[in-house]
Symmetry: C2
Subunit: 306 residues, 2 copies
């Protein structure tokens, strides 16, 4: 049995007239008679009671008619569903994110996608480290990554979302909290909280910044990521240099100040270069076309950069 048989059957069942049904199906009447005959013989059941004057459904035909309606509707719906998926209008996109991006960029990303692609579901994996995101991208565990370049591994494309200056995070009570103008120099001998992962992009940026002055930070504590780091700052354990997007983290007891010569760190969007998933492509095109994200990237050019 083929769908053709069911489509023919449905037409005859609805019209109760082989001639009319054949006309609707754009085939000749004998072909239709033949097809129904074949269907009946394959099923081992007669579907129509027919004379040359009257065609009506048998009980088996009534049953099949109901089933056929649902079946053909389901087929149509499935075809439409595939079109939706293939066009990238529907689907699931798993997005990995470094810590603070969930606060600073996720709202904009999520609302952009919601508006342009309402049937797309984003599955967010927050607090992922950049190397983990590279692995997950490559293994297919995530489809998009919001990470800190330089990301390793070929087959992965990157687009810088933002160049964030490093800013000072200080406890409210700290002397620098009220300073009009902060320079790296002011951090000499101040208890400093650093990133535990020494080779993380942010930590490297911090180290690079300090290389422009003649002292190393007075590291008293370490944190695995920006969130915990800010918590330690709020607790008054010291100050820290963090990406500007940390301003989006709502945490009492911490104030942020721009820092002269503080350096910067990039935030980028990453994806598999050869990802065939259309919904990933359409989400990507929405994100990279967004003016606000693009403007952010250009407006945050740090002071020290030409």
């Amino acid at each position: 049995m083929e769908l053709r048989h069911l489509r023919y059957f449905a037409a005859v069942a609805e019209t109760c007239h082989f001639g009319k049904a054949a006309e609707r199906l754009l085939i000749a009447q004998p072909a239709l008679s033949q097809a129904i005959r074949n269907l009946e013989s394959e099923l081992g059941a007669s579907l129509f009671s027919r004379t040359t004057r009257h065609v009506s459904l048998t009980p088996a035909g009534e049953f099949l008619h109901e089933r056929t309606r649902q079946l053909l509707a389901y087929v149509d719906d499935s075809v439409r569903g595939i079109e939706e998926i293939a066009s990238g209008r529907t689907g699931v996109v798993r997005v990995g994110m470094v810590g603070t991006a969930a606060f600073s960029h996720l709202p904009r990303i999520a609302s952009l996608v919601k508006q342009a692609l309402p049937q797309v579901t984003l599955e967010i994996q927050a607090d992922m480290l950049t190397p983990d995101q590279c692995d997950s991208l490559r293994s297919g565990a995530i489809d998009l990554a919001v990470l800190r370049p330089p990301a390793i591994g070929d087959g992965i494309s990157l687009r810088v979302l933002e160049v964030e200056p490093l800013i000072l995070a200080a406890p409210t009570a700290h002397p620098l909290a009220d300073a009009a103008d902060v320079a790296l120099e002011d951090l000499r001998a101040t208890p400093f909280i650093g990133y535990g992962a020494r080779d993380s992009a942010v930590n490297q940026a911090v180290m690079r910044a300090f290389r422009t002055v003649d002292f190393a930070p007075f590291r008293t504590h370490e944190a695995p990521g920006t969130a915990v780091l800010l918590a330690l700052v709020a607790a008054g354990l010291g100050v820290a240099l963090v990406p500007a997007s940390a301003r989006a983290v709502p945490l009492a007891g911490v104030v942020f100040r721009d820092v002269r010569e503080g350096g910067s760190v990039e935030l980028a969007l990453g994806w598999r270069q050869d990802d065939p998933n259309p919904v990933v492509a359409s989400v990507l095109s929405i994100l990279v076309a967004d003016k606000e994200l693009a403007e952010l990237a250009s407006s945050f050019v740090p002071e020290g950069t030409p």
Copy 2:
């Protein structure tokens, strides 16, 4: 798109291997590749990511795989359903019945069908008059009839279920209620309740009985059917001659007595001679093969019959 495409697709989706799938489908591998290719181009979506070493489903393919599973299962189930209907094991049979048959014969009929054809539903229309049943049979409103012959109209087959003697229904207080032996003669001048439909089979049988004696019944009341008639008897308004099956009607205040020379009336099963509905045929075959119904028919031969 045809079911063939979906069957092929399902095989490839399950094995993730064109060669294995082709083997399972009993076709050559290139034919399968071709068919999937055609399906993909028709849908305008790629369903598999494939290299010569690895085959996997795309998101659209995942979606279609799920849909295909359900679709093919539904097709199989529908084919099975049609087999059930065509074989007569499943279906609905509408049965018309004269008044008292609902009490006397329906229990046996229903339990026979329930046991032999558990998936068959009987829709009982009780209290139908014989001519109405003939019309309903012919128009297709009912499929089987339990009626009183002679039934008119060709294209309708009859089989006698039972030959019932007419018996006396008398109020408990009536003198005849305790008589050892009742003859028609004893009803002379006794208030008599007759059937309103003069040409009904039961009334004709009553009239025929009275034609063997030299008096007509002393008709004081009439009833449209046996049920009402018995109610009037119970009320003490008179006696009546009723088919023996009336004994099955549970009604206080009425006693039944055999009547010598009381005559008899037949109860028969009727159906459309050319009914193509298999479930009607299978119910019929169950009913006409039933020993108990057959024995009833022979054992009730009335006294006056050779």
